[in-house]
């Protein structure tokens, strides 16, 4: 799988070295989710990205933990060209997302929100 990874460029999607908008994160998420749903491995490149925020990463990657198994994400999703401090931030976003979706009440609300078309409050 990892030999045949799809490439998704964060810079290309955001159109800027500043990946700060939750809406842009949502666009990244939609591409990742489509690939993961199809069982494809993806390499998410942060090449040329200079600033990312937790809001962007929560939308792009954090919400994947409400839709896919942790093992599935670990097997299929790779990142590259990411700055060391941004890796730290991404790790925190991932840990927070795991805890967020591990709470059944929150998860139920999340499902309800998605079904109701409210993906982001």
């Amino acid at each position: 799988m990892t030999n045949n990874l799809l490439e998704v460029s964060v810079f290309e999607i955001a159109g800027s070295p500043f990946c700060v908008a939750s809406d842009d994160g949502q666009k990244v998420h939609d591409r990742l989710a489509a690939a993961l749903k199809a069982g494809h491995g993806v390499r998410l490149s942060f090449h040329n990205v200079t600033i990312v925020t937790s809001a962007f990463l929560n939308a792009a990657i954090g919400q994947l933990y409400g839709e896919f198994d942790e093992a599935q994400i670990r097997a299929l999703l790779k990142v590259s060209d990411i700055a060391p401090d941004d890796v730290m931030l991404l790790k925190r976003v991932v840990e927070t997302a795991k805890q967020y979706f591990a709470d059944p009440q929150t998860f139920a609300q999340a499902i309800q929100a998605v079904q109701g078309g409210d993906g982001d409050d």
């Binding site: 800027s16 500043f18 700060v20 908008a21 939750s22 809406d23 842009d24 200079t50 600033i51 990312v52 925020t53 937790s54 809001a55 962007f56 929560n58 939308a59 954090g62 919400q63 933990y65 409400g66 942790e70 994400i73 670990r74 999703l77 790779k78 990142v79 590259s80 990411i82 060391p84 401090d85 890796v87 730290m88 931030l89 991404l90 790790k91 925190r92 976003v93 991932v94 927070t96 997302a97 805890q99 967020y100 979706f101 929150t106 609300q109 999340a110 929100a113 998605v114 409210d118 993906g119 982001d120 409050d121």
Partner: protein, 290 residues
């Protein structure tokens, strides 16, 4: 109606003066409000963000606001950052290169805010030198503050920002204000917790607490900001509803204000002489993220 405004410093007393102004004017409709600034010997420029937010809210109620008897020093500062242009003064260049201009954004303006940070902070060569690590961390923090306002305030009346460098003190002050629902109401509506406004801010800045509900997780923005300020040696103030919260030297304190602010203000003071790398020793491998 004529109201005297005192000096406005970037502290609790400054915010007290602003919420007092709001308490005196919030009922005004189709009115002329004259603000007498003859006693305002100083206005910290970043406070133009919450001040401008209040004046915008008054304008939404079809009031005319006039700023009278502005002292020369204050007039110079608030003209250079563009604030007084809104109230009929001629814009003048920022001679010392120390202002981050007063600006109003729509909640959908993430990209304009990014452009503002890039052109007014990151690429401004005349600003006091900061290490590249600090500049990156500071920019991230400003984006986190803006995102926080966008995501949590539910504001329809915009987001207001303004900043000021103090080169001799190695300090940069930056404030972002919104006219949204405020932290207390947000916490109550999403968690059912009954907290006063100051307690609600404390709750929102602590541990894993988040008001986020739905498919996208959250709850990191304010904590990241607190950690940055603690490491940097700066300070952070949040005013929301009648709550005032301050973080400095790794400690936070809360105070209940006598009057509410009609939204939220996040105000940060950064030590611009900070030379830390901000990359921790225990770095995470790219293969060990998920």
């Amino acid at each position: 109606m004529r109201i005297a405004l005192p000096q406005l410093h970037h502290d609790q007393a400054g915010f007290d003066a602003l919420v007092d102004l709001w308490a005196k004017t919030e009922a005004c409709f189709l009115d002329v409000i004259e603000l007498d600034l003859s006693d305002a010997t100083w206005i910290d420029a970043d406070l133009c963000a919450p001040f401008g937010a209040l004046l915008y809210a008054l304008g939404e109620r079809i009031n005319t606001v006039k700023l009278l008897n502005i002292r020369p020093d204050v007039e110079r500062a608030l003209t250079q950052n563009g604030f007084l242009s809104i109230y009929g003064r001629k814009a003048v260049p920022d001679r010392w290169g120390t202002t981050l201009p007063y600006q109003q954004f729509d909640p959908k303006d993430d990209r304009y805010f990014a452009d503002y940070v890039e052109t007014k902070l990151i690429r401004r060569t005349e600003l006091p030198a900061m290490s590249s690590a600090l500049l990156k961390k500071l920019s991230e923090s400003l984006f986190e503050i803006f995102s926080n306002a966008v995501i949590h305030s539910s504001t329809e009346m915009g987001i207001f920002s303004c900043g000021q460098f103090f080169p001799k003190r190695d300090r940069l002050n930056f404030s972002v204000a919104d006219l949204g629902i405020g932290i207390r109401r947000n916490v109550t509506e999403t968690t059912g917790l009954t907290l006063d406004a100051a307690q609600a801010i404390e709750w929102a800045t602590t541990g894993r607490n988040t008001t986020r509900r739905g498919a996208i997780p959250g709850g990191l923005g304010l904590k990241l900001l607190v950690q940055f300020v603690d490491l940097n040696g700066g300070s952070l103030q949040i005013v929301s509803d009648a709550g005032y919260w301050r973080r400095e030297n790794g400690k936070s304190c809360i105070v209940q204000l006598t009057r509410p602010f009609p939204g939220t203000v996040v105000s940060v003071e950064i030590n611009t002489a900070d030379q830390q790398s901000y990359v921790l020793a225990s770095e995470v491998e790219e293969t060990d993220i998920f």
